[in-house]
Amino acid sequence: MAKRVGAEGSFAVAEAVRLADTDVVAAYPITPQTHIVERLSEMVADGELKANFIYVESEHSAMSACLGSSAVGARTFTSTAGQGLELMHEVLYLASSMRLPIVMAVADRALSGPLNVWGDHSDAMATRECGWIQYFGENAQEVFDLTLCAFKIAEHHDVLFPVMVHMDGFHVSHVVEPYLLPDKEELGDFLPPINYPYPLDPNKPITMGAFAPPAVYSECRKAQDVAVNSTHATIENVWNEFGKRFDRHYKPIETHKTEDAETILVSIGSFNQMAAVAVDKLREEGKKVGLVRIRLWRPFPLQAFRQAVKSAKNVVIFERSMTYGGTVGPVCAEVKSALYGTKGAPRITSFIGGLGGRDMSPKQFEALFKRAQEIFDKNLDIQYETIGVRE
């Protein structure tokens, strides 16, 4: 029977790892992920979680240990944030190219410099080419549910890719919220035991990580690219099955009042909840606005996204990472790329804010809509503006 629990997003993630009967956790503490690893350590110490917790000496070693553990067929989890995600950067590519079903929860955090331990998406965006399945949870319930689903998706024989579950640093990791925590009985057989098809085993010796010279590297990479783009069906199936069992429904693109919206805000993460409040307020005032939440970031759900913004004349993106020399931030670039050349493609502008823990209130989202409208009405050629930054 599910309990209604008050907990931080971090603890919700830890509960999901416990319920999944994870075999190995290899992690290094870094703010704001620390509560996840601390709670998991307590669970191991008390025997609630029967896992081997490898207290690695850096994040690079955390992901490396995950490679080894996953390669022998053990259900493997890790967690990190910000600088930690950067430190393990090169290893992320291997987890994907070696097709190892590692699950990682990331408490998205700003990147140095200057040093800032608070939330934004710059760490997440820096990993978009690594080949992981990546999606976002906006509150404690979502990150609990999505972490559970992550094991099922990653380990599915039609997938075999690592999965990153993102949550906003502090805004989700450290905010206490109520969520429904199912017990083992209610979980039932939703998450079967892991059955990795190619484990390292002396009874069936294989070689993992052979080197590929120019004559064959491209073929290896194309095979991986095709494979990761083929995971959409399984991701949706797992989420649909979860929805049937637990009546909480997740989709790659989720919409809020977009059916007849003329201007649509596209955004990722917990600040969507502020944006939704703003959308509701503006709708009361008669403005035809709507919100599209990108939940599945990689592989990008191209068709679902195009469908979601079909009615809009204007699309405005809000994102939480800077580009430093690019034409627009990473989310806007993805949106523009998705919509370029489509029939009736909307006008697009974007805003970058919420950096390094800087909050965005519903009022600020209303102001964002107002400024976006001005840009569209005056046909200003503005790729992006910062919002909430003192001029």
Binding site: R99, L100, Y198, T207, A215, C220, K222
Partner: protein
């Protein structure tokens, strides 16, 4: 017999670029690397096996009479076997082409 790397299409690539056939690199002929080769004088050989122990490939195995012989398909001609042979039974000879 494994396909050569330049023959593989992207569809041939196994999941994770895993190599499933153990030891299949032994199809590769390293013997054509050499410019000199070992020649065994069986009259001097005492079948001690030291040459076999110190061959880096390893490509020295016993023939039907128990003499340790280099498999020229693999032998790179390093000469360690000749250097180490306690009976000087192996001579390194430049190869004619």
């Amino acid at each position: 017999m494994a396909k050569k790397d330049f023959e593989l299409t992207w569809k041939d690539i196994p999941v994770g670029s895993i190599v499933h056939e153990p030891g299949n690199a032994s199809q590769y002929q390293t013997g054509d690397w050499r410019s000199q080769m070992p020649v065994l004088d069986k009259a001097k050989c005492v079948k001690c096996g030291i040459c076999y122990r110190f061959c880096p490939e390893p490509c020295i195995v016993k023939d039907d009479d128990g003499y340790y012989v280099s498999d020229l398909f693999y032998c790179k001609g390093c000469g360690i076997c000749a250097y180490e042979c306690p009976k000087d039974a192996i001579t390194i000879v430049k190869e004619e082409h």
